[in-house]
């Protein structure tokens, strides 16, 4: 009896693994940054290079980093969602303008509306590498203690925001309230 059950069991287990593997998206690469301190940056502001946008100023509150560029089609698709999120005024959204043309990026914000509390200009793409960015748009959630809580890859929808970001923001605020 066992002679037949064991190979059959192994076959079913292997089949299950391969079946799950069929539907996994190889383009989604899990970020090693989750649960680790967010990489620091201090970059010129897109609108005025004299004013730096620094990650240190954001410590003490949850915030969102959105990586975008005018060359990125997915970013245009996502823009409506970002505007809706900024209307909620839950957390500041900081933009990381990745390897873009300054004038084109400013024009984009004038034409489509500006959801960002501040936009850092990463002309050379070094900060993006520090954050492990490999394709825009990518959106990070950072906790009040500066720890990366979540990363969303690909254009974000309002459903993604409600399901993945809002509960984490509430949890981060609650645990911070308990500590102080």
């Amino acid at each position: 009896m066992w002679k037949y059950l064991v190979p059959f069991g192994l076959f079913v287990a292997l089949g299950a693994f391969l079946y799950v593997g069929l539907y996994r998206d190889p383009r989604y690469v899990p970020s090693p940054l989750i649960g680790k301190p967010a990489p620091e940056f201090s970059l010129p502001s897109l609108q005025d290079a004299a004013y730096p946008v620094s990650s240190k100023e954001l410590i003490g509150q949850p915030w969102v980093l959105n990586v975008w560029g005018t060359w990125c089609g997915g970013c245009r698709a996502e823009h409506e969602t970002l505007l809706a999120i900024s209307q909620q005024k839950v957390v500041p959204i900081v933009g990381l303008n990745w390897k873009d043309d300054n004038a084109a990026a400013q024009q984009w914000l004038r034409d489509l509306g500006n959801p960002y509390a501040a936009v850092a200009e990463d002309r050379e793409g070094r900060t993006a590498i520090d954050w492990g960015v490999y394709g825009a748009p990518e959106t990070f959630l950072i906790g009040p203690d500066g720890i990366v809580l979540y990363k969303h890859i690909a254009p974000m929808t309002i459903e993604d925001w409600n399901k993945e970001f809002l509960p984490r923001i509430q949890a981060a605020r609650a645990s911070k309230g308990n500590q102080s």
């Binding site: 690469v29 390897k99 793409g125 492990g132 394709g135």
Partner: protein, 146 residues
């Protein structure tokens, strides 16, 4: 017909290799030792935008940025291990074309050894059983037929 197909295939392969050679033709270092390290590292780091290419093969902007990082770190005197760690810290193990052994993938590394052990065990059992069967019943059906 086959000849035409052959010619087409050869033409495709040649065209393809030309494209591969065109990327990053500039020498990064005058020192041949550093240049070799640079080329080897580029050949084992994955370009995450175009996932089945190394950063040496890819002309994606990200690949060129990552080549720049590698070049600068070599120039700054970093070791190959330090450069790999830099990439893993940011992009995870997936960035390596030659994966490390970690707690998460030890089964994958151990699977060949494990399967070989199971195979040897099975062979030994079967051979032994046949041997004892032959001892007990020398005039069994198989012996009788021969």
């Amino acid at each position: 017909m086959t000849k035409a197909l052959h010619a087409l295939l050869v033409a495709l392969v040649v065209a393809w290799s030309g494209q591969a050679l065109a990327i990053d033709t500039e020498r990064a270092f005058d020192d041949p030792v550093l240049q070799t390290r640079y080329e080897n590292l580029n050949r084992e780091l994955r370009c995450l935008v175009c996932q089945n290419q190394t950063i040496a093969d890819s002309n994606a902007p990200l690949a060129s940025d990552l080549r720049r990082e590698v070049r600068e770190m070599i120039a700054a005197g970093k070791t190959d291990a330090e450069i790999r760690t830099f990439m893993i810290d940011r992009y995870g193990d997936f960035v390596l074309y030659r994966p490390r052994m970690t707690a998460g993938n030890f089964l994958l590394w151990g699977a060949p050894v494990l399967l070989l052990a199971i195979g040897i065990f099975a062979v030994v059992r079967v051979v032994r059983r046949r041997a004892t069967e032959a001892d007990i019943d020398p005039a069994g059906p198989e012996a009788g037929q021969s």
